[in-house]
Symmetry: C2
Subunit: 163 residues, 2 copies
DNA sequence: CACTAATTATTAGTGCACTAACTATCTGAG
DNA sequence: CTCAGATAGTTAGTGCACTAATAATTAGTG
């Protein structure tokens, strides 16, 4: 219906460049919101939001981790992670206590319930790929494209702001 | 450095499925945030946030539009658009008045300043592609992938929730 | 050793995004 | 013609995400 769009994108700049439907950034944000939205019914059963799910993935990989560490792994500001962790603590999935030997850092640790939730979560990736009708190859291809894009933005950040 | 990831994804499900770095949804959200972040310095000069930029693109295409119309074009809830429009009105870029003939609908209209801003904006797409080091072909390819993904999520939404 | 620097986390403030609840207007079936 | 239901926007409430400012601890240098 509306997929002539890409095929007709010309090689040089035109005044069509400002058409909403031609914007990669628009397609990307819609895709992101749509995919996250598709996770919702599945994650609801675990009682997690999508960002919370990502934090849990992080902790299932290794358990006592600092805020800075998690923040780095998720490419998110500590100020974003902080309240998120507070909610996960309230939900009884993690504990937060100062690290011994370095009282400024926080030791974020899975509770028994938090660790146990992993069992239910193992089904999530497969369920989602099936729901979206993606093969492992397609998913891998998209993953690679996104990784490249992320790298491109890092390069762009290094260029202009001139720090 | 860390790009062995995709090449080593096996064909069948393993316990590695829960590794953060293997999640497409993670790569997608990071890519989305990163790209939007890359727009920031450029859009700052126009005094727009990225979501506001998308609304303006919308209005530069056709000017008196209803909230519902804009909401549909941007794939966003009216409740999200509403306060966003209020800020654009405060910024003097648009006006909001009830439509004559249908007092429930709103006529969102560009002001002179709003229309004029388009001149500055014409440079944005080109600037961004250059900054990200993307060719038109690459951008087109990514755009097509995102469009497919979006379609996949729509299909998924139609399946399960069974309305 | 003292005092500045850097590191780590949190808080405040703004803006997006969504759901649910509400108001106002319009439409259409009886 | 009337009033139940649909339509269009807004508001309230929650949660993310970012920047800037703050507090607390640690490390390093003179």
């Amino acid at each position: 219906m509306t997929d002539v769009t890409v095929a007709t994108v010309p090689t040089e700049g035109t005044q069509d460049d400002l058409l909403l439907e031609h914007q990669l950034c628009f397609a990307l944000t819609v895709a992101s919101r749509s995919v996250v939205g598709a996770y919702k019914p599945v994650l609801d059963e675990l009682g997690l939001t999508h960002p919370q799910y990502l934090v849990m993935l992080c902790l299932w990989e290794s358990s006592p981790r600092s805020v800075r560490d998690i923040s780095g792994a998720l490419a998110q500001e500590p100020a974003t992670i902080s309240p998120l962790l507070r909610r996960l603590e309230t939900a009884g999935l993690i504990t937060r206590q100062r690290m011994e030997g370095n009282e400024r850092a926080l030791a974020v640790r899975l509770t028994q319930r938090g660790a146990a939730l992993r069992e239910q979560a193992t089904a999530v990736p497969g369920t989602m790929m099936a729901r979206l009708g993606l093969t492992r190859e397609q998913a891998g291809q998209l993953h690679a494209s996104m990784t490249e894009l992320i790298a491109a933005t890092k390069a762009a950040a290094g260029d202009a702001p001139r720090r």
